[in-house]
Structure formats: structure tokens, C-alpha cells
């Protein structure tokens, strides 16, 4: 019941907004807060599940079920929406953006809770379409960026579909029951080689959302051209759909394929981490740096997942949640700059700290989080991921660590170029420091970051319980503890 409501409530709000066509800030905020409240009983352990729309040969299409990881990701998504809305508050595009974000949020909730692959796929495609629409209609309204994003995700997710169909047919042939539900699809007896091929297909579809290294071509356009609030939600929340898909669908459905792919996956993700960090180093504007560092971090998440090792998995999942907070913080920084008419181009920045000391201090916090300072949100995730994967493939885990070091350089340099040094003569004489709304956003995000960094044990002990749910085989048969 609750899980259905989590999907349908935002969609209902979006429908109402498009029919009513007038500004309804209160409604959107109330809806976003209601979503957060709805997540709480789930986290408290309510085993909410529904199964409706039974179709012959396909199974129950609307088959939603709560599980611990989905609950956490749902809560993260629900928490990000009010931040995104607050960032864009009082902006011309607010109504439009709120509508698309609501559609996106509902679809994301669907991807987390869907227990029927076809249902998951449908939600996943709606996420892709809504995200493309978001890029198309916000910020610089760049059609090319939207189309690139759409083509990457749609092409890749068709491979995802193609890869699952043989599993479906195999299970159907063996059991006589043709059904796309998770429980039916898992446990196929396909040979390792075929599993490897199919895993590559699924990986293409799911990895593109992260984005995994060779599939990251859409990231720059999507994160740089859209409005900050849109980019915030895209890089914070929609990437979670990809992570969740890997953890809940790809690995459990094709355990042998995942194990065979593991070394190659680690190498790929390590290259991606390093490559993303280098891209972030050589940019012409702060926003590109943020975009590429997000790519780099998400590749580290992928590294942890591919390692198929308990610590690495805990680290990867932790990092993906911390990354949501980090993305929110960094894109809020960019939104603050944009709201004051400052571009994020390096040539227009410099010495801002003297004009906006409060803003400078908060920026420092999030930059430190991004470079992995112990005590802040990113560190436990990065550390565990690297530790876990080091036990599997030390050399490549080491290369990924290099990526983290480059990341450190990236953010220190970015801070130096934007905040410190001489005041850039191109800056206007009067720049307002943080307004109250912005101050509150930063305060909440900073608190979340500190909680993740200092109180990580509570979250990590959760993961210890939830991992066996997703992959009983993994803990026993793969790379172990």
C-alpha cells in the first residue's frame, strides 16, 4: 500500500500541476514532505508489498515490494526533492521544474520497489524520458544535450531488456511458468559464458545511468546545460536507479556472469575513476569540474560493486548515498553562484571568499567532502570500497586510489581558483552573501554530511543485514569477506 502510494502520490501531484497550470509552491513542498513521511514506516520495517495487474505470460506488472536497500534509496530520493525545490524556489521555471521532478521522483520510487522486471524496465524508461525532458526544458534548454542523454540511456536500456529475455525464456522452459518476477528470474541455470554475455548487456543498460566509464558521454551535457536544481536531482537521485539495478537485478540474476566479469569490471571502473578525475582537473568552468568529479565518484561506486566483496559492497552503497548529499551540496553552490549572475567559468571567479565569507565557508565544507576528508560523508564509503577491492585486485584498486588523489588536487585547486587569491576585477562590486533559504539548505546538507561521516556505523550495520537479501550467493561463493 505504502509503496504504491510512494509512486502514485508524486504522479498525482504532477498531473494536478499540469492540469491546474498555476503556481503551487505549497503543494509541491507538501507533497515532497509527505513522501519523506511515507518512507519512515518502511524504514521501521513495514513489509509493504502489492501485486496487481496480472498479465498472462508476463506476471504481475505492478508488483512492488519494500526491501531495506530500496527503503534507504527511496528515503535519499525523497530527501533530495525538497532540496532541489528549495534551490529553484521563486525561479521562473519553478512550476515546470517541480512538475517534471515529481514525475521523475515517482518513477524512481517505482524502480526501487519494482519486483517484476518488466515493471522495473517501464519505470526505468520513464526515468530516462523524464530526465531528458528535464534537461530539455530547464537551464540552457539544450536540445542536443537532452537528445544525447536520451539516446545513450534508451539504447543502453534496450540492451538491458534484450539481456533479460533469455533468462526469462530459460526459466520459463525449465519451470513452465513464464513470469518476469524477480523470484522467478533469479536462479537460472545458464552457463557461465552465456551469463557473462548477458551480464554485459544488463551492465550496459544499468551502467549508463551511473555513468560507467565508456558510457559517460552524456554526463557533461546533462550536468552542465540543465538548471542547477535539475542537475542536482539527476546526479544525486537518478544515478541511484543504476546502482540499485546493478545490486538488485544484474548481480543476483546472473551471479556467475558477475563473478566472471568482476576483474574486467574492476579495471574498467578504476580507469573510469582516474579518467573522470583527470577530466575534472582540466576544465574551463567549475560546473564541469563538479560534473566530472561526479562521474569519477560513481565509477568508484561501480568498482565496489564489481569487486563482489562484502566490505566493498557496503562501501559502494554507502558512497552512493553520500554522493547524493555531495551532489546536492555542490550543485547548490553552483546555484548560489548562478542566482547572483556569476557564471561558473574560471575566468569570472577568484577571491570570492572576501566578498562572500559565509558562502566560502560552506563551499569549503563540501569541497572537503568531495576530496574525501575523514569525518565527512564521502570518506567511509571511499575507504571501504578501496579496502574491499584491494583484497580482490590490489593493483587496480591502487590505480583507483590514484584517482582519489587526483580528486583531492582537483578540489583544492578549484577552491583556490574560485575563492582565494586576488579578487577578480570582473566581479561586481556588490555581491550578496547567503540568503536565509540558502543558509538553511547548506546547514541541512552539512549536517547530513557530518552524520554520514561520523555516525557511519548505524548505516553500515544496516547494510550488513540487507546484503544477504540481495545476494545469498555473493557472500558465500564470491570474493568473501
Amino acid at each position: 500500500m505504502i509503496v504504491s502510494l510512494l509512486v502514485l502520490l508524486p504522479w498525482g501531484i504532477a498531473l494536478w500541476l499540469s492540469l491546474a497550470q498555476r503556481s503551487a509552491g505549497a503543494l509541491t513542498i507538501a507533497g515532497a514532505l509527505a513522501e519523506i513521511l511515507l518512507c519512515i514506516p518502511l524504514l521501521a520495517g513495514d513489509p509493504s508489498a502489492v501485486a496487481a495487474i496480472h498479465l498472462p505470460l508476463l506476471g504481475a506488472l505492478w508488483q512492488l515490494q519494500a526491501n531495506p536497500l530500496a527503503d534507504l534509496f527511496a528515503l535519499t530520493t525523497a530527501l533530495l526533492l525538497p532540496v532541489a525545490l528549495a534551490v529553484q524556489w521563486h525561479h521562473d521555471e519553478y512550476l515546470h521544474l517541480a512538475r517534471i521532478l515529481a514525475v521523475l521522483q515517482g518513477a524512481l520510487m517505482g524502480t526501487y520497489f519494482a519486483n517484476n522486471f518488466l515493471g522495473f524496465y517501464i519505470f526505468y524508461e520513464i526515468v530516462a524520458l523524464a530526465a531528458a525532458w528535464l534537461i530539455l526544458r530547464s537551464g540552457k534548454k539544450d536540445r542536443r544535450a537532452a537528445l544525447t542523454f536520451l539516446l545513450y540511456t534508451v539504447t543502453a536500456s534496450l540492451f538491458l531488456l534484450l539481456a533479460v529475455l533469455p533468462i526469462y525464456l530459460n526459466r520459463g522452459n525449465n519451470t513452465g511458468i513464464y513470469d518476469f518476477s524477480w523470484i522467478q528470474l533469479s536462479g537460472s541455470d545458464l552457463s557461465g559464458q552465456i551469463q557473462l554475455l548477458l551480464f554485459l548487456g544488463m551492465l550496459a543498460g544499468l551502467g549508463v545511468k551511473l555513468p560507467l566509464f565508456p558510457l559517460h558521454g552524456w554526463a557533461r551535457g546533462a550536468y552542465v546545460q540543465s538548471a542547477p536544481a535539475a542537475a542536482l536531482f539527476l546526479s544525486g537521485a537518478t544515478v541511484l536507479a543504476g546502482v540499485y539495478g546493478l545490486v538488485h537485478w544484474a548481480v543476483p540474476l546472473l551471479p556467475r556472469g558477475a563473478l566472471l566479469f568482476s576483474p574486467a569490471g574492476i579495471i574498467l571502473a578504476a580507469i573510469g575513476t582516474l579518467y573522470g578525475a583527470f577530466l575534472a582537473l582540466s576544465t574551463s568552468e567549475l560546473r564541469e569540474t563538479v560534473a566530472y568529479s561526479s562521474v569519477s565518484h560513481m565509477n568508484l561506486v561501480a568498482l565496489g560493486i564489481f569487486a563482489l566483496q562484502e566490505q566493498a559492497w557496503s562501501g559502494a552503497l554507502f558512497l552512493s548515498i553520500a554522493h547524493a548529499v555531495l551532489a546536492a551540496g555542490l550543485f547548490t553552490v553552483l546555484a548560489v553562484l548562478e542566482a547572483r549572475g556569476l557564471g561558473s567559468n574560471w575566468e569570472g571567479l577568484g577571491g570570492l571568499f572576501r566578498r562572500m565569507p559565509r558562502f566560502g565557508a560552506w563551499t569549503l565544507l563540501f569541497f572537503l567532502m568531495a576530496l574525501g576528508l575523514p569525518g565527512l560523508g564521502n570518506f567511509p564509503g571511499e575507504f571501504l570500497t578501496l579496502l574491499g577491492s584491494f583484497r580482490v585486485l590490489p593493483l587496480w584498486a591502487g590505480i583507483a586510489t590514484l584517482g582519489m588523489i587526483v580528486n583531492l588536487v582537483v578540489f583544492l585547486r578549484a577552491y583556490e581558483r574560485s575563492m582565494l587569491g586576488q579578487i577578480n576585477p570582473r566581479l561586481p562590486a556588490q555581491i550578496a552573501d547567503l540568503a536565509q533559504r540558502e543558509w538553511w539548505i547548506f546547514l541541512l546538507l552539512g549536517a547530513a554530511s557530518l552524520y554520514l561521516g561520523l555516525g557511519s556505523q548505524t548505516l553500515l550495520s544496516d547494510f550488513a543485514q540487507l546484503l544477504p537479501v540481495h545476494s545469498p550467493l555473493l557472500i558465500g561463493g564470491a570474493h568473501g569477506h
Binding site: 524520458l129 536540445r143 536520451l150 539516446l151 529475455l165 525464456l169
Partner: protein, 444 residues
């Protein structure tokens, strides 16, 4: 003489078509002609259902033929209802109705007949009326060129079809679609004839490499005629192809080749086309390819292909129904005007475009999923991969046509009767949520 129940539907439509021409005797009577067409078409659907699975002479309504026959009747009825007040039907509505009913008659012959001669008559009956419908008085000047091209190529296709029948007769000594001695393509001559049949039908369905005419017709011919061509004519051709694939045993190579060619060529051409109507023509080529991809997958593919044919017809109606409200010769969609003046029609157009692209959860997605399942089941992996690459590319042209806003004129008068609104609402429901009806067809 007792007429078997399988023949009732074609006979009823033939009589209705003949009588329809007499409605032109008086203008006031003429206005009722489209409603006569509705009656005739509904009657055809009912009689097809009545005669299904009956053994008769020359006709057999098996499961797929019944589904398609019923669909053809209902779709034709819906189109008559929609077109009843259309400006193009101001002149000679009786003749228009009669010609359309002849097309329907041809379509029923094509779908239900199990004799090659019956197929030939059906093909002629459905091709000849289109020569006239494409240049109906009141259509644009481009229409004449389009109709001329269609006439030339269709005549060529008919000749090929006749030659194919002759060769099959030479090889088998029999004109039955399912000859008593072995498969229809058992001998060399029959196999050659079979290829000619496929080529002729390929012309009619615009399968690459026989697709040269399609973009010109889609762009030039009057919208009501194109609407009828896709919703009734092409679906009937798909019906014959399903019957032919059903009797050609395991010989799937021609289907495979045509499927790959069509998907690749259709999608590439559509991708590079700026004009909306021409784009739809090329996208029809791509969809013919997806249909052939289902046929190439053996028995399971035949079931899927039947559904594909029906859904293709529905999507075609979903695209060209709303286009009726725009003036003839519109190459781009004036979205702003359409959204303001006819929001439901704009919605149907958008849903149909998404459905053509295969966006879940539209009907278009589910039939494409079916084709994929059939192909993987038959282990034709290459075809499945070409299919997904093609449909991924198709997003690159369907969606920009959704958000491309042309430089619009200040005002635009749209044709928007109440029936179009109803049609649009029903169409959106059907294309968006039609999959809820699957249990009716695939009941466990």
C-alpha cells in the same frame, strides 16, 4: 445453393460497397453514405466473428485471420465515423464510401482467403480504389504525382503477383495456399513464385528495398486516404504475409533478409528526413521491418505478428487521425496551435509517436517486446540486435518531432469536430493502456 458462413462477410461488404455508390444520387442522401459505410463495416466484423473456424469453400477464418478480420471491420467503421463530416467528403461521399468499402472487401479477401486466386482478387480490389482515393477532388497538387507513382508501382506489383501465382501453379499443380502434396514452396518453380509473391506484397507494404513510393504517398496524398491505406490496406497485407509465412514451413531466409534491410534502411532514412509526413512514411518502412522480424521467428512469431499488425494499424490511426485536423500539405506539426485548439488531438499524436518509438508502457512497446521474445526464442540473435539498435535510433527522430517547434503562422484554423475529440480520447486510452486487454486474447 447454400453459402457457407465463411463467405458471408465478404459478400455483405461487396453488396454494401455496390449500394454505397447509389447514395450519390441525391446530395441529402449522400450525407448518409459514410454512416452506411459504418454499418457495412460493423456487419463485416460481426460476420467474421460468426464464421470463424468454420470449414467453407476457399475461405478459412483461423485465429489470426479472425482477429485481423474483426479489427479491419471495426477500424473501417471507426474511420467512416471520423470522416463523415470531413471536407474531402463533400463531393461524391457515396463514391468515396463505396471505394473504401471495396478496399475493405479486398482486405477481407486477403486476410481470409486460402486460394491464391482469392488473394489476387483481393489485392486488385484493394489497390485499384486507392488510385482514385489518392487524387480525390479537393486534394493538393502533390497528390497527383503521388498517385501516379503509386499506380505505376502497384501495377508492377500486381504483375509480379500474377506471375508468382503462375509459377506456383507450374510447380505445385494447385492453387491452394496449403496444397495437399507438401508445402507451397516445395519445388523450384514454386519457390521462385513464392519469392515473387513476397516481392509483390513487399511493394504493397513498403518493405525495403520496395519502399520507393511510400514517402511520396504519405506526404502528398490526402490525409483521409493515407489514413485508410495504413489502417486497413497495410494491415490486410500483413495478414496475407502471416498466412504465407504459416504455410512456407521452415524457409525463413527471405523474411530475415527483408526484415534486416527494412529496419536498417527505414530507420536511417527517417532519421535524415526533415519533413514530418515523409518521416512517417519511412518509419512505416522500419515498422514493416519489425513485422518481418516477427515473421522470421517461426510459429511463435506468427502469433506476435498478428498482434503487431493490429497494433500497427492502431498506431497509424493514432498518428493520422489527429493530422486530419491540420490543413493538407502540412510538413511540420504546429504544436502550439494544436495544443491550444485541440489538446486531445495533440495528446493522441504525442502518445502515438511515443508508441511508434516503443516507449513503455504503450502498446507499441509490448508488441516490440513480443517480437524480441519471439526472435530470442527462435535464436535469431542478429535480428534481435538489429531490432533494438533500430528502435533506439527511432527515438532520435520521433522525439525531436515532438519538441521541434516550427515558425508558426499567427493563426491557423483547425478542423475539429466533436467526433475527433472522442476519437482522440479513446485512442489515447487504447494506445496507452490497451495492454490491460491482453488477458482477453492470451487467456490462461
Amino acid at each position: 445453393m447454400v453459402i457457407s458462413a465463411t463467405l458471408w462477410a465478404p459478400i455483405a461488404v461487396a453488396i454494401a460497397a455496390l449500394l454505397a455508390f447509389f447514395f450519390d444520387l441525391h446530395p441529402r442522401l449522400g450525407r448518409l453514405a459514410p454512416y452506411w459505410g459504418v454499418l457495412g463495416s460493423l456487419g463485416a466484423a460481426a460476420l467474421v466473428l460468426h464464421g470463424r473456424l468454420d470449414l467453407g469453400q476457399g475461405f478459412y477464418w483461423d485465429s489470426s485471420a479472425t482477429i485481423l478480420g474483426t479489427y479491419l471491420g471495426l477500424a473501417s467503421a471507426m474511420l467512416f465515423l471520423l470522416l463523415a463530416r470531413h471536407p474531402l467528403l463533400q463531393r461524391m461521399p457515396g463514391a468515396f464510401t463505396g471505394l473504401c468499402l471495396s478496399v475493405l472487401l479486398g482486405a477481407l479477401l486477403l486476410v481470409g482467403s486460402d486460394e491464391l486466386i482469392g488473394l489476387f482478387i483481393g489485392l486488385e480490389l484493394q489497390v485499384l480504389p486507392f488510385f482514385a482515393l489518392f487524387v480525390w477532388p479537393g486534394s493538393s497538387s502533390r497528390a497527383l504525382e503521388a498517385a501516379m507513382k503509386y499506380a505505376l508501382l502497384a501495377a508492377l506489383a500486381s504483375a509480379l503477383f500474377a506471375l508468382g501465382i503462375a509459377l506456383i501453379y507450374l510447380g505445385n499443380g494447385d492453387l491452394a495456399l496449403n496444397p495437399p502434396l507438401g508445402p507451397i514452396n516445395g519445388t523450384f518453380a514454386a519457390r521462385l513464385g513464392f519469392i515473387l509473391l513476397l516481392a509483390a506484397l513487399g511493394f504493397e507494404l513498403a518493405v525495403a528495398p520496395f519502399h520507393a513510393w511510400v514517402a511520396d504517398i504519405y506526404a502528398g496524398a490526402p490525409t483521409p486516404a493515407v489514413l485508410y491505406l495504413g489502417a486497413v490496406g497495410k494491415v490486410a497485407i500483413m495478414g496475407v504475409l502471416i498466412n504465407l509465412a504459416g504455410v512456407s514451413g521452415t524457409w525463413l531466409l527471405p523474411y530475415l533478409a527483408l526484415a534486416v534491410l527494412s529496419m536498417v534502411i527505414g530507420n536511417l532514412l527517417a532519421w535524415r528526413t526533415p519533413s514530418f509526413r515523409r518521416l512517417l512514411g519511412y518509419s512505416a518502412v522500419a515498422h514493416a521491418g519489425y513485422f518481418f522480424a516477427a515473421l522470421a521467428a517461426g510459429p511463435l512469431g506468427l502469433i506476435i505478428a498478428t498482434f503487431y499488425a493490429v497494433v500497427y494499424g492502431l498506431m497509424h490511426m493514432g498518428i493520422f487521425g489527429p493530422l486530419l485536423s491540420l490543413p493538407e500539405g502540412t510538413d511540420e506539426i504546429p504544436w502550439r496551435h494544436l495544443r491550444q485548439q485541440a489538446p486531445l488531438a495533440a495528446g493522441l499524436l504525442a502518445v502515438s509517436l511515443l508508441s511508434l518509438a516503443g516507449m513503455p508502457p504503450s502498446l507499441g512497446f509490448f508488441v516490440k517486446l513480443g517480437v524480441l521474445v519471439a526472435d530470442i526464442h527462435a535464436q535469431v540473435w542478429g535480428l534481435a540486435i538489429v531490432l533494438i539498435l533500430g528502435s533506439a535510433l527511432s527515438f532520435a527522430y520521433y522525439l525531436p518531432s515532438l519538441w521541434r517547434h516550427p515558425h508558426e503562422q499567427r493563426s491557423l484554423a483547425l478542423w475539429q469536430p466533436a467526433i475527433l475529440r472522442l476519437y482522440a480520447a479513446a485512442g489515447m486510452l487504447l494506445l496507452g493502456l490497451g495492454w490491460l486487454l491482453f488477458p482477453l486474447f492470451l487467456g490462461q
